[in-house]
């Protein structure tokens, strides 16, 4: 069963502001899926439609088979949400706020609340008005996880959290997934997505441009090549040699002394031929990181993304 099903989702805010153009995505239950893309790509808009905060212009979105528009309350039952920017009711005790939000869900959540508060070093007696940005985020995380949701949606969950809390959050998310929960989160911290997610959806200009397993995405996309040359100036000669052979699919050339590094997208034999012709003293070819994939694919496209709002 799919926890999330989105088909041809479109959101036009009007006045030339396009939220998303055409998002289609299925997230199987029990998986951890990352949702990445440049600013304004449509990540937050998609998440807000899933949660019923805004209505899609066209297309459909379902949580566990229930339409978020026509069956919103039941679709959101068992869903926890951590917003990108956390704002809390002022002058409330943290414990009271969490208890209030938990009352929307069936069951007694107090034991989990205490456990999660301990995990995230959250003082339940503190007043919401006095909290730092990171502590507010921790309140949102505890509020989302305490009803033991079967789906957790997080929008930039680590912004404001220190490295220790980030690690605890992702450990906890992995535990929740191991227990059968589905985790769907957007992030700019690609290393976190890479380390945590089984699958990643890349969205750009309001469309999903890639959706695959993290490893497959990296392999399919490109390789990072490090070539070392002996002798002064030989790195430059190598560059010239590669250029002369018109090797397509080479990008992001960097030269540090006698080592050149570049990203390569394409079949391996022409790459090996080109490298052999350049006669390096050492060659190392590795899978590109998700960040490499992301930057290579979307950095040039960002200029056109300004009309999209998140």
């Amino acid at each position: 069963m799919n926890a999330i099903e989105i088909h041809s989702l479109r959101k036009d805010y009007g006045g030339g502001r396009m939220g998303i153009e055409d998002i289609t995505l299925e997230v199987p239950a029990g998986t951890i899926v990352g949702f990445i893309g440049p600013n304004g790509a449509g990540k937050t808009t998609t998440i807000r439609i899933l949660l019923g905060l805004i209505a899609a212009t066209s297309g459909s979105a379902r949580l566990f088979g229930r339409d978020v528009r026509t069956d919103g309350p039941r679709a959101r039952a068992g869903t926890g949400y951590v917003p990108g920017e956390t704002n809390l009711y002022p002058a409330m005790k943290v414990g009271d706020l969490l208890a209030y939000l938990a009352r929307f869900h069936a069951g007694d959540h107090q034991p989990r609340r205490r456990e999660l508060a301990e995990l995230f070093d959250l003082d339940l007696a503190a007043t919401t008005t006095d909290l730092s940005l990171g502590t507010k985020k921790k309140v949102a995380i505890v509020a989302a996880l305490e009803p033991a949701p079967r789906l957790v949606i997080l929008d930039e969950p680590t912004s404001g959290l220190d490295p220790i809390m980030r690690a605890r959050l992702f450990d906890r998310l992995r535990d929740e997934a191991a227990g059968g929960a589905t985790v769907f989160f957007s992030s700019h911290a690609l290393s976190e997505v890479e380390a945590t997610c089984e699958r990643v959806a890349i969205v750009n200009r309001g469309r999903v441009v890639a959706y695959d397993e993290v490893g497959a995405l990296r392999r399919r996309a490109m390789r990072r090549v490090h070539a070392t040359f002996d002798g002064a100036g030989s790195g430059g000669d190598a560059l010239a040699g590669l250029a002369a052979r018109r090797l397509d699919g080479v990008e992001s050339f960097e030269r540090h002394g006698n080592v050149i590094t570049f990203l390569y997208r394409g079949p391996v034999p022409p790459l090996l031929d080109a490298l052999a012709a350049a006669s390096p003293s050492d060659v190392r070819i590795e899978e590109a990181s998700l960040e490499d994939v992301f930057l290579a694919d979307f950095a040039p496209a960002r200029e056109g993304a300004h009309r999209h709002v998140s």
Binding site: L51, G52, L53, I54, A55, G72, P73, R74, R76, A77, G78, T79, Y81, P83, E85, N87, L88, Y89, P90, Y100, L101, R103, F104, H105, A106, A140, A143
Partner: protein, 267 residues
Amino acid sequence: MSRDVTLVVMTRELRAHLRTFLAWSIPLAGMLALVCALQPSLASGPLGAKLESMPALMRRAFGLEMVDLHSPAAYLATNALTFTIGVALFAGLLGASILAKEETLHTAELLYVQPASRAQILAGKLGAVAIYAVVVPAVLGLLSAAILAAVAGRPIEPAFVELWGASAATALCFAGLGALVAASVRDARTASGAILGVVLGTYFVGMLSIMTPVTEPLRYLSPFKWNEPVAIVARGMSSLGVVIALGLGVAAAVAAVRRYTRRDLHA
């Protein structure tokens, strides 16, 4: 489940707005206590003589020509409009802010992502507003009855209940209108300013209606004129006036819920 969610929201909103309730009801109660304590002087003392010498139009504007100030209910009626305006302002502003605050405080993402429909949540919020809109005139009614019974030396008439009942109906009318205004705009300040204008505007329209026969039909546009306190004491409460005020309030609240459930919520 739906009733539970509505009750959860209503309880929370009643707690959250307890200070607002106290901030409005304590000064109103203080003013009312002072007004009630002055009843003996205004009914039979030198102040009463001054009132007798006021111009006819002014006496008519305050309803002084229709009632006997020795009667506690009649005396209260000559002052009740001031307190009804206060109660209407409180209810209208509360109706507007209770909806608009979620977007102003950016807490919509906490509340409206919960497994409850917006209608359920709004029912809880508007229920809390309705309770306060009735409780404030009820408190003022009990206070005025207690003080006037003590100072006037005469029994409290049944018209007391009608006076404050009509005040509550007017408050509920403006509470609904406040919610409708908030559902139509995005920020709390605009909503508060708009409902403030509606309350005071309709009051002045009502005042205009008594100035000349030509402006008299304007009374139908002012909820404050649908059940005038002095008329209640003189002729009894108009059920039609109460029904129209409550009907308008309920219709405005229903329209607010319909608008709010269909619009995009921004953090």
